[in-house]
């Protein structure tokens, strides 16, 4: 048994998952997962429901036991340790506040179990940090959702764990409150310097708060990286669809040795940077995000040299305020989504107009054609757009 | 939802859902926890049933002692003599259950949907009489229905008793010592058992379903028939079982409010055990009653399974 190095209060520790697998009977929830979460970082596990992110979190907390693999916190092997023996605390999705204790006692719970001195002082400090001081003697059911969420956070934070786990803690809050809490959580994490591991299915939330995101799908990590990296440089269709939106064209690559590789889409030659090609074969899904596309009327000279171009007819337009969302139908029937920021409103671009789609080839990426174009799209959204499966 | 739960914790949420404990490694734990309770029930509920069955097949008398002879004829004899009491028991219990349903349902409905601030107070009022000795309450019915009491004299003046006599519910000018009195007592005793399960089922229902039905052109009566009633059925069935079964075996109401001509099977069993001292016959009758109840319960289980029982 390795000795755990004495931790400074307030410092996080590296969290290491090594080949962790969890199966429930035949169902494999987490499949040979290996991750290193550096100390002091704000790490997000992002993925759709059922991808294994919550199971992974519970294994780190000790509320589930891995079927195989190892979990290390710092140099301590905690794989089979009971939850109350781990320097880990969880902010539960449903808050799980003790209904029979008031807020003060809820927050003090962990301290009392650890027989810490000066409970009162520490509790008062954290209540101040989370702006809960006037509510100290109320019961949980007398608090609003946002207040309960902060109590759950305070209750976990006060113990200064090596790793703080957050299981979709903002899910039950309304939009404005959620945004506010996202910034607050980020601020608190910066201030206390603990390792935060945040589980969520909301990609915007992950990108706002986390330094590093691991996108999970069916028990595996699809891609790991900083939010910007994942967004601009997706390596699988799942990641490309799950974070933001993508348009995909069936294309064939040629001339792969060049810095800008040629991709042929329905006879048109388009360019994609070689550094953004993630496909062993030449058959690819050529991807470009809707906000990178520009619409102009056919015949206009405004498109810069070297930009990719495709022609189509505007099928639909929706004014969203900040932007306008267009659906452009290509000659071969495919619909392309375009987001244009409402800077100059070209009144000629209306449904029925013939337009040219153009974009900087640097914003293109090419992914393995063997992957499904629909991977990562919310199935309900898919049905609404494409129609229910036959 | 079972009545026991309804009786004690009426404002509770969903019952029955199994939540496995967090670290549930020791497979022996449930069996150890169960052991004392299950053992007690096994020894003092299950084994006596076998004793009863065994006793029903014996011959002999109280003075000379009983001998195990496997005499199944005990059953045929007992039934051929006492089948009228059996029939009467089921008929009375059936009528009482029906009346209970008719009285309890509006009460449960009112508490669930129309009571507002008074909900908890009303529930208290429904439960409270249950804790008063039911013997004493039944004796009170003796007073209420007594020959010279207000109720009897009023009904006599209004000639309502004549109608009831015509229907075979009463005899002479009396209300006491009549089938009517027995059924009234039975209905009264089991009202909480019918009200609370129905209330629990209705309480779980979303009242906006009724609004949706009205929005879709259904009248209040149709909304009830097509929406409320089907959704409350589980409670109705539970209440029915919890009323009919004890009512069928009751003999207190028959003894205190009825007359020898209106004896129920419970009275017969009691007298066979304690006055006639014919244990085998008494046991046979008792076991037959149990068997017919079991048939009912198994029909219910076939439909609803065992999870909702307890």
């Amino acid at each position: 048994m390795t000795e755990s190095s004495p931790r400074q209060p307030g410092s996080g520790a590296d969290l290491n998952l090594i080949n962790v697998t969890k199966s429930f009977g035949d169902f494999v929830a987490v499949d040979d997962l290996s991750l290193t979460i550096p100390s002091g970082s704000f790490f997000a596990l992002l993925g759709p429901s059922g991808c294994g992110k919550t199971t992974t979190l519970r294994m780190v907390a000790g509320l589930e036991e891995p079927t195989s693999g190892q979990i290390l916190i710092g140099s301590e092997d905690v794989t089979y340790a009971k939850p109350y023996k781990r320097p880990v605390n969880t902010v539960f999705q449903s808050y799980a506040l003790f209904p029979h204790l008031d807020i003060f006692e809820n927050v003090a719970f962990g301290l009392r179990r650890r027989h810490v001195k000066d409970v009162k002082g520490q509790v008062e400090d954290i209540l101040e940090l989370t702006e809960l001081t006037p509510l100290a003697r109320r019961k949980p059911n007398q608090l609003s959702g946002g207040q309960q969420q902060r109590v759950a956070l305070a209750r976990a934070l006060i113990n200064r764990p090596a790793v703080l786990l957050l299981d979709e803690p903002l899910g039950a809050l309304d939009l404005k409150l959620r945004r506010q809490m996202q910034l607050e959580l980020k601020g608190i994490q910066n201030e206390v310097g603990l390792t935060f591991v945040h589980v969520t299915h909301d990609q915007e939330e992950a990108m706002t708060m986390a330094d590093t995101i691991a996108v999970m799908n069916e028990g595996r990590v699809e891609q790991l990286g900083a939010p910007v990296d994942l967004y601009e440089n997706p390596r699988t269709t799942f990641v490309a669809n799950f974070l933001g939106q993508s348009n995909f064209f069936d294309a064939t690559l040629s001339d792969r040795s060049a810095k800008v590789v040629t991709a042929t889409v329905q006879g048109q030659r388009l360019g994609v940077p070689a550094s953004r090609v993630y496909s062993p074969g030449d058959d690819v899904h050529l991807g470009v995000r809707p906000e990178k596309l520009t619409l102009s009327i056919q015949g206009d000279d405004s498109i810069p040299e070297g930009h990719n171009r495709l022609t189509g007819i505007v099928a639909d337009s929706s004014f969203i305020g900040v932007s306008t969302e267009y659906r452009v139908e290509m000659a071969w029937g495919m619909q392309v989504t375009v987001f244009e920021q409402n800077v100059h409103h070209d009144i000629r671009i209306v449904p029925g107009a013939s337009v040219v789609l153009s974009w900087d080839p640097a914003n293109t990426f090419a992914l393995d054609a063997s992957q499904s174009v629909e991977a990562g799209i919310d199935s309900e959204v898919l049905e609404a757009v494409v129609g229910a499966p036959a | 939802m079972s009545a026991g739960a309804a009786l004690a914790e009426v404002s509770d949420k969903e019952p029955g859902k199994v939540q496995p404990s967090v670290i549930n490694k020791r497979k022996l734990t449930p069996y150890l926890l169960l052991l004392p309770g299950v053992l007690w029930l096994a020894v003092f509920f299950v084994v006596p049933m076998f004793s009863l069955f065994g006793q029903s097949l014996q011959t002999g008398s109280f003075e000379e002692g009983y001998e195990q002879t496997f005499r199944f004829a005990n059953y045929t004899e007992a039934l051929s003599t006492y089948w009228p009491q059996f029939v009467r028991s089921f008929v009375y219990a059936g009528i009482a259950t029906l009346l209970c349903l008719l009285i309890a349902y509006p009460l449960a409905y009112c508490i669930a949907f129309r009571s507002g601030r008074w909900k908890n107070a009303l529930l208290v009022l429904v439960i409270a009489p249950f804790f008063t000795s039911f013997l004493i309450r039944t004796l009170a019915w003796q007073t209420i229905l007594s020959d010279s009491g207000i109720v009897t004299t009023t009904l006599n003046t209004l000639h309502v008793t004549d109608v009831m006599r015509f229907l075979g519910l009463t005899e002479g000018d009396r209300l006491l010592a009549t089938p009517l009195a027995v059924i009234t007592g039975l209905t009264y005793n089991f009202l909480p058992f019918m009200t609370l399960p129905i209330y629990a089922a209705l309480d779980r229902m979303d009242p906006r379903l009724i609004e949706a039905a009205q929005d879709l052109y259904s009248s209040p009566w149709t909304s009830f028939r097509k929406v409320t009633w089907p959704l409350s059925l589980a409670g109705v069935v539970a209440g029915t079982l919890l009323t009919f079964i004890p009512a069928a075996g009751d003999y207190i109401n028959a003894q205190l409010l009825g007359a020898p001509a209106y004896r129920m099977i419970g009275n017969v069993i009691d007298s066979q055990f304690f006055r006639v001292l014919d244990y085998p016959t008494a046991a046979a009758l008792s076991f037959t009653l149990m068997a017919s109840i079991l048939v009912l319960v198994s029909l219910y289980i076939r439909r609803a399974g065992t999870e909702e029982l307890v």
Binding site: F92, S94, P99, H100, G110, Q142, A156, N159 | S2, G4, L7, A8, K13, E14, Q19, P20, V22, T29, P30, P36, W40, L41, F44, F45, P48, L52, G54, I103, A104, P106, L107, A121, V124, L125, A128, F131, S133, I136, R137, L139, A140, W141, T143, Y188, L242, A248, G249, I265, I269, A282, A283, S286, L289, M290, I293, V297, G305, E307, L309, V310
Partner: protein
């Protein structure tokens, strides 16, 4: 082309405004449920009124079924009736012991069924359900058959055994209902916050199940105190309070019986009301 909403048209002036339907019949139809409920409650409480009222009666004959005159005799001379107070004491003692035992056994059983998956679960569910569904005549007579076969004399101990038996199921059901509403994530949260299994049970699980256990205790006590049929079958010459009342029904009903009934009602009403207030106070701001 602009369209402006026109002022309320001339149409509204020519069509007479609809009248809100009123009238007594309408009122009755709208409130039929409440009326039926009130009638049901009246029906439920009528005997209680009679019981309380006639506890203040001074009957002339043996039976307390006709109002003679007001008197507080029964209340002041409470134990004046032969054997009543002894039977009360016995019922109380048996009630307390039966409650203790059945709550203990029943709570353990409820935990087992609620929290664990094991083989034979549906069989156990059925076993627990059966006493609640069996007529008391059958349960009483079968226990008698057992005791007779084994040669065990009937008395207080056999009564106690029987009471524990039939209270058990009700306790299980009540505690189980309370456990079901207990979020298991609370226990996970406790362990996440450094409480081991024992501390979690003592500080989180038990306080939250306690209301259910209290309710089960009250239920078990009243079932035991009030039981007649099963007790009668297994008591021989021992007299509990219900047996006393039964005997009184044949011999003569003194008003003191009504006093006990009135007290029982009053006390249980108080306890339930207090329980409800405590529970709602826990939920209110």
């Amino acid at each position: 082309m602009s369209t402006t909403t026109e002022a309320p048209s001339k149409l509204a002036v020519t069509v007479p405004p609809a009248r809100r339907p009123r009238g007594p019949i309408r009122w009755v139809r709208a409130h039929i449920i409440q009326i039926a409920a009130a009638a049901a409650l009246f029906y439920m409480f009528l005997p209680i009124f009679v019981v309380v009222a006639f506890s203040f009666n001074q009957p002339t004959g043996r039976y307390n079924d006709k109002w003679v005159q007001f008197s507080t005799n029964a209340w002041t001379d409470f134990c004046g009736v032969n054997g009543m107070c002894e039977s009360l004491k016995l019922s109380l003692i048996i009630g307390l012991l039966a409650t203790l035992a059945s709550v203990l056994l029943g709570t353990l059983t409820a935990f087992a069924i609620s929290r664990h998956r094991f083989r034979g679960r549906s069989g156990i569910n059925l076993l627990i359900f059966m006493p609640m569904a069996t007529p008391e005549v059958v349960m009483g007579s079968s226990l008698l058959a057992l005791f007779v076969t084994l040669g065990i004399p009937r008395g207080s101990s056999t009564i106690l055994i029987a009471h524990i038996m039939f209270c058990l199921s009700f306790v299980v059901v009540t505690v189980k209902a309370r456990l079901a509403s207990l979020d298991s994530r609370l226990e996970q949260a406790a362990m996440d916050l450094y409480a081991n299994e024992r501390t979690t049970f003592l500080r989180v699980t038990f306080p939250l199940v306690l209301p259910g256990i209290v309710a089960a205790s009250l239920l078990a006590f009243s079932l035991s105190f009030d039981d007649f049929i099963i007790t009668n079958f297994n008591s021989e010459t021992t007299v509990t309070f219900p047996i006393f009342v039964w005997g009184a029904a044949q011999r003569g009903t003194p008003p003191q019986i009504n006093v006990v009934g009135a007290l029982m009602f009053g006390i249980s009403l108080l306890i339930i009301a207090v329980g409800q207030i405590v529970a709602s106070r826990r939920r209110k701001v």
